[in-house]
């Protein structure tokens, strides 16, 4: 039982990270129908920038987080302006996929240029002895991760239900043509979605680096994991994809713990392929719902 709890909690931790990446996927998908395959690179960007501010120029923790998230948002903005906007008009899906891959390689190259190939890490948000719950050992950073994920959810809820901007974005996701007719600036919404998703992915990087370290080429696998989470939960719904993230994290951790750690990544991929094959709409929504969300 203790062992199970231990695996469960470590699964929740990884799951929280997947949930944040999947969230980024979903926000961009909703406004543009694009899957941003550079999502994993933003996680790496978050971790590396945070290391720079914290360890290299010794800024306080809070300031570092804010700066990191700010810069990642700007990189998201730059990505949208430089690569997505010129191609969005052509509406050739092949080109739009390729450009996000191209940008992810570019970003990975820039990160390697700036930080080299070494893994980086920094101390967790608060030092102290780990907590013990029911025999399972939990690092303090894990609690911070949950706290931040909760904040993110709260922010999402308020943003998409209580602010006019969020509601406009939701309208854009449901039907961008009608939204345009209602006077909503859809291209602005696309821009904001890239900024938001950059921020969420980099938050994942900021939070997870004290536990797992980060290096320049971790991005692609994180992209696939985040995407698997998004598919598992069903693209289209913010809550669905986050649930998918936690589910994937827990499954992976249990497989790694009870069966074989090498199977962990293969499981995620097999899960992805079989979901795509048998239930592309995700676990939590019917295919009709998904079709309405233009899947």
């Amino acid at each position: 039982m203790e062992l199970f709890l231990q695996f469960f909690f470590s699964g929740l931790t990884v799951g929280a990270i997947y949930a944040l990446i999947a969230l980024g996927f979903n926000i961009i998908y909703n406004t543009t129908s694009i899957l941003n395959l550079a999502q994993g690179e933003f996680v790496v960007l978050g971790g590396l920038l945070m290391w720079y501010f914290l360890e290299k120029i010794h800024l306080p923790y809070g300031v570092s987080i804010i700066l990191t998230l700010g810069i990642s948002g700007l990189v998201g903005l730059a990505m949208e302006r430089l690569s997505i906007r010129p191609l969005l008009k052509t509406a050739d899906p092949l080109l739009l996929i390729l450009i996000t891959i191209a940008f992810s390689i570019l970003l990975r190259g820039i990160l390697m240029f700036l930080f080299g190939k070494e893994p980086y890490g920094y101390p967790p948000i608060s030092e102290g002895a780990p907590l013990i719950i029911g025999g399972a050992i939990i690092q303090r950073q894990v609690l911070w991760i949950f706290l931040f994920v909760l904040f993110t959810m709260l922010f999402l809820y308020i943003f998409f239900n209580r602010t006019i901007f969020g509601i406009a974005m939701k309208a854009c996701a449901i039907d961008s043509l009608s939204a345009t007719l209602l006077g909503i600036n859809t291209s602005q919404m696309v821009m904001v979605s890239f900024i938001l998703s950059g921020i969420f992915a980099s938050l994942a990087g900021v939070l997870v680096t004290p536990i797992t370290f980060v290096e320049y080429d971790k991005g692609p696998l994180l992209t696939i994991k985040g995407f698997t989470a998004a598919i598992l939960g069903g693209l289209g719904s913010n809550w669905g994809v986050m649930a998918g993230g936690f589910l994937l994290g827990i499954l992976e951790s249990l497989i790694a713990g009870y069966i074989h750690s090498g199977l962990k990544d293969a499981l995620a991929l097999l899960l992805l392929l079989s979901m795509l094959l048998f239930k592309p709409a995700g676990l939590f929504q019917s295919s009709e719902q998904a079709r309405l969300r233009k899947l």
């Binding site: 899957l35 092949l94 191209a102 970003l107 990975r108 390697m112 090498g262 991929l269 992805l272 795509l276």
Partner: protein, 310 residues
């Protein structure tokens, strides 16, 4: 005469002989080796070009087929002592038959979904090669060289002939295919599946066939690669290989099969000219790919043609 000059059999022949001429004229083993790699890449890229350019089906899992082709052929010839040419052929057939697993999702998936599904396939192969491939992550060697009867191909020049001859043969075949009614049907797949369905075309068999053909060429190239370098490790078969192929096809020009050899030659020789920046190759690749997608959307070939017309 004019008809003869504009014939694609003739064009393939010109390409083949000029590559050979280049190899025999420069006679530098290093240069020849790179030309051989360019030929292998061109063969792989041709597979992707058929899939992507002709049929509009994206695949980011070509590294999986490349790796399977190489590993299966190496294991067949090394452990079961099967003659190399037969092993190459068997491995290409075996590994490309796995592409059915990609073709069936491709029936339901489009665009980004297909991209990620194929990416997942390539990544699974890569992980499996790392976990269970002979030698694990560090790989294995002593793979026999390519032999035909009593003749063993030893030096790079003989591989240059072999690889580019195989490429030219399939290149001609692919061009014939593109002009046939089957090729036209594939092109229609690019634009409207529903229209094809109403015309009574069997989409399932169409997609399965093109996926098998595309992955056959890439697997074949992987198998030849194994017997050329005689040492394999999973590192050569990561997703990055698929991205390189993608760059070759896009840079060369997605609308023409000529994009494959032109892009492959360009991308294979690029790292050689960028030797001072060796460490930062990813950065350079990223810049080139991003810039070419935004500014050179139709590829080098289209660009050159326009230049000539002006």
């Amino acid at each position: 005469m004019k008809r003869f000059l504009h014939n694609h059999y003739f064009h393939s022949l010109v390409l083949f002989s000029s590559i050979l001429l280049l190899g025999f004229a420069i006679r530098d083993p290093y240069f020849t080796t790179i030309l051989v790699f360019a030929g292998l890449n061109a063969l792989s890229a041709l597979g992707l070009s058929l899939l992507m350019g002709l049929a509009g089906q994206i695949s980011l899992g070509q590294n999986g087929f490349y790796g399977l082709g190489a590993y299966i052929s190496a294991i067949l010839s090394l452990n079961l002592q099967i003659p190399v040419p037969l092993a190459v052929l068997m491995s290409a057939v075996l590994s490309s038959s796995l592409s059915v697993f990609l073709a069936i999702p491709a029936l339901r998936l489009k665009g980004h979904y297909l991209a990620v599904a194929t990416l997942g396939f390539g990544e699974i192969v890569y992980l499996l090669l790392n976990e269970w491939g002979p030698g694990g992550p560090s790989g294995f060697g002593n793979i026999p060289k390519f032999t035909m009867g009593d003749i063993a191909l030893e030096n790079p020049l003989s591989y240059l002939i072999l690889v580019w001859a195989i490429f030219s043969a399939f290149f001609t075949l692919a061009q014939n295919l593109a002009q046939s009614s089957y090729g036209k049907t594939l092109q229609a797949l690019h634009s409207s599946e529903i229209a094809l369905r109403t015309l009574g075309v069997n989409i399932l068999s169409l997609k399965v066939k093109i996926f098998i053909l595309g992955s056959f060429l890439t697997s074949l190239s992987g198998a030849l690669y194994a017997h050329f370098v005689t040492f394999l490790s999973p590192a050569s078969f990561s997703v990055f290989y698929s991205v390189l192929l993608l760059m070759m096809v896009m840079l060369g020009g997605i609308n023409t099969l000529w994009g494959a050899p032109v892009g492959a030659l360009f991308i294979t020789f690029l790292p050689e000219t960028l030797r001072p920046f060796k460490e930062y190759d990813i950065l350079i690749y990223g810049l080139i790919l991003t810039a070419s997608l935004i500014f050179l959307r139709k590829g080098i070939i289209h660009f050159l043609k326009q230049g000539i017309r002006k």
